[in-house]
């Protein structure tokens, strides 16, 4: 392991040598999802504290994980989702946070703290949350979907867009069958996989997509798709025929939280940044830009009523009670997910007639 590290380090220094122009003043290196912030708040942070923000973005939890795990990166604040936080805690990749330096944490609603992924609440500060669900085009479906199972009917042949990642995709099939997102029972996961394979073979799936779903739903390419509630709110602005359904089995309630990786170099600045991000005016600006939901009770109280009463962004407590958060899965289960996912990917559409 050590030798490998050395080699990587050597390679990296060789690559970085020409461009070593480092910021001389205090910095904080922030690694966030793409399009997940109002970038002007970064300038405000710099103006107020004099700490320069090096801001970069990632596209998936797995991408974030692989850059933290492989070493060589030096981020001070990262914003993974729930299940990835659980995994990083388990693998000892995160620093404990000194909450006394994050006084704005008091603004947060207690229901988003001490969740499954960080039960002792020592490593994370929730940033935003949201749910998944079914987005459909009211002009293209005969009846509004009510459950995840409605994605598996042959009436929707060629009209369904499904998540293009194993956790969300197999997860929704697990929910459709009445199982937990966090099951480690291989029989249940296999059953969910078979359901997805059958769906693909019957030609019901139009495509497996992530952000490509924006264009496809906006341009009436597909009748129905699965995605995040916050992104539905952006889509419906472009195409008013779209509607959102929270499946009756409940959906995934995800919480993205700010964490500090063990490899960080500016711990104090990281805490200052996290504290800044929890301040009400900053939260409101970010929510306005992003469309996801805030865990901050004080910011929510000041929010535009139209937004905070939107049942898609802020579902009722009864609906939320049905939702489940992804927990960390053991490595064996993750490998099993990947193997089962390959079976879904490799399944061929069977020709059908009529």
């Amino acid at each position: 392991m050590k030798g490998k590290r050395m080699l990587c380090a050597l390679l990296l220094t060789a690559l970085l040598l020409p461009g070593c122009g480092r910021q001389s003043g205090p910095v904080v290196n922030v690694y966030n999802w793409g399009e997940y912030i109002d970038e002007s708040v970064l300038d405000d942070f710099e103006a107020e504290t004099g700490i320069h923000v090096n801001y970069s973005t990632f596209a998936s939890n797995e991408m974030l994980y692989s850059s933290i795990k492989s070493g060589g990166s030096s981020y001070d604040v990262i914003i993974p989702s729930d299940y990835m936080i659980a995994r990083m805690i388990r693998e000892d990749l995160l620093m404990e946070l000194d909450y006394s330096q994050i006084p704005n944490m008091a603004n947060l609603d207690a229901q988003y703290l001490h969740r499954e992924f960080d039960p002792e609440q020592r490593y994370s500060v929730p940033y935003m949350w949201g749910t998944t669900g079914i987005i459909y085009n009211t002009t293209m479906v005969d009846k509004a979907p009510e459950s995840w199972m409605d994605l598996f009917t042959t009436e929707l042949r060629g009209q369904v867009l499904i998540f293009d990642n194993p956790r969300d995709c197999i997860g929704l099939a697990l929910k459709a069958l009445g199982y937990s997102f966090n099951t480690t029972n291989e029989e249940e996961i296999r059953e969910a996989t078979e359901l997805l394979i059958g769906q693909k073979q019957a030609g019901i799936v139009q495509a497996y997509v992530m952000d490509q779903i924006f264009d496809k739903m906006i341009n009436n390419e597909a009748a129905i798709g699965t995605y995040y509630a916050g992104d539905y709110l952006s889509m419906v602005e472009e195409n008013p025929d779209l509607a959102f359904c929270m499946p009756e089995e409940g959906a995934n309630l995800f919480i993205d939280a700010m964490c500090v990786p063990k490899s960080c170099e500016n711990y104090e600045n990281a805490l200052a940044f996290i504290n800044f991000m929890c301040r009400d005016d900053i939260v409101l600006r970010n929510c306005e830009e992003v469309g996801y939901s805030t865990p901050s009770a004080t910011a929510l109280a000041q929010m535009d009523p139209e937004m905070k009463e939107d049942p898609v962004a802020y579902p009722s407590p009864e609906v939320l009670a049905k939702c489940e958060t992804f927990g960390g899965l053991p490595d064996d289960t993750l490998s099993f997910y990947d193997r089962e996912w390959i079976r879904v990917c490799l399944a061929k559409v069977k020709p059908h007639f009529g």
Partner: protein
């Protein structure tokens, strides 16, 4: 001595960006997470045979289509005057000035069911045709993106053909077809072989095209390797093992095509 010094940056470049990554791939492929030597990364490789087969199949089709389009094109282009050539070359190169992903995204909106192509067909009362999210779209994406790599080497070989061979063939009584079959084509083979390699290799390892145009409905080697690094189970060792196998596959394919070329013209390939 001077030429040696001038080569230093290139040697450095090759070492850092070619040799070191290759060594890393081999090192990762034969180790486990604890850094110990193991062959276990290759244990379950048979599970992935279907993926290998699928990729090989689509890459071969794309290569053949590229060849069928590119050869006549390059052949006729070589007979044209300098101005026509310049314009044609510019048009071939022009799309390559734009990022490959952007071009593929553009194809996505062209091929969609309500996309540009089907709207156009609709004007003539035709269609709609379903291409997006099928293997056809994946092959189309490969052909579109890699076609210039087939045209350019074939064109440059045909262009540089010693015209005296052709004249000699004609003097000896060969008709047009025979001249082509027995003189021009064999002499242009080096270009064909390097074109085939330059299309086949990126085709077999592509992953963005199958995601965007194939809608994730077909699963290629590139997707499989990407999944080992960015899928739910992070396993760079298995990813490297698969990449290594792909490398071996490509080398075999290259050797086979080389053999077809009878090993003449050392300049062919890679």
């Amino acid at each position: 001595m001077r030429t040696k010094n001038a080569a230093v940056p290139y040697v450095f470049w090759m070492a850092v960006f070619v040799v070191v990554p290759l060594v890393l791939i081999v090192a990762y492929a034969f180790t486990n997470f604890d850094g110990e030597f193991t062959l276990s990364n290759f244990d379950n490789i048979d599970v992935f045979l279907l993926v290998f087969g699928n990729s090989l199949y689509l890459a071969l089709i794309a290569t053949v289509i590229c060849l069928l389009i590119a050869y006549p094109f390059a052949y006729f282009l070589a007979q044209e005057g300098p101005l026509f050539r310049k314009v044609a070359m510019l048009l071939i190169m022009l799309p390559m000035w734009m990022n490959f992903l952007l071009r593929t995204y553009a194809w996505m909106s062209i091929l969609e069911n309500n996309g540009f192509l089907n709207q156009l067909l609709g004007l003539f009362g035709l269609g709609p045709i379903r291409i997006i999210n099928t293997d056809v779209a994946v092959v189309l994406g490969m052909v579109y993106n890699f076609l210039p790599f087939m045209i350019l080497p074939i064109f440059s070989v045909i262009d540089k053909l010693d015209k005296r061979y052709i004249e000699a063939a004609q003097d000896l009584g060969a008709n047009k077809r025979e001249t082509f079959r027995r003189v021009i084509f064999p002499l242009s083979l080096p270009g064909v072989l390097s074109g085939v390699t330059m299309v086949f290799i990126p085709s077999i390892s592509t992953f963005a095209i199958s995601k965007l145009l194939g809608g994730g409905m077909s699963f290629l080697l590139g997707d499989l390797i990407e999944m080992q690094f960015l899928g739910s189970a992070y396993n760079p060792h298995l990813g490297s093992a698969i990449a290594l196998l792909m490398l071996v596959l490509v080398i075999i394919a290259t050797l086979v095509t080389n053999r077809f070329g009878n090993g003449e013209e050392g300049a062919v390939l890679i």
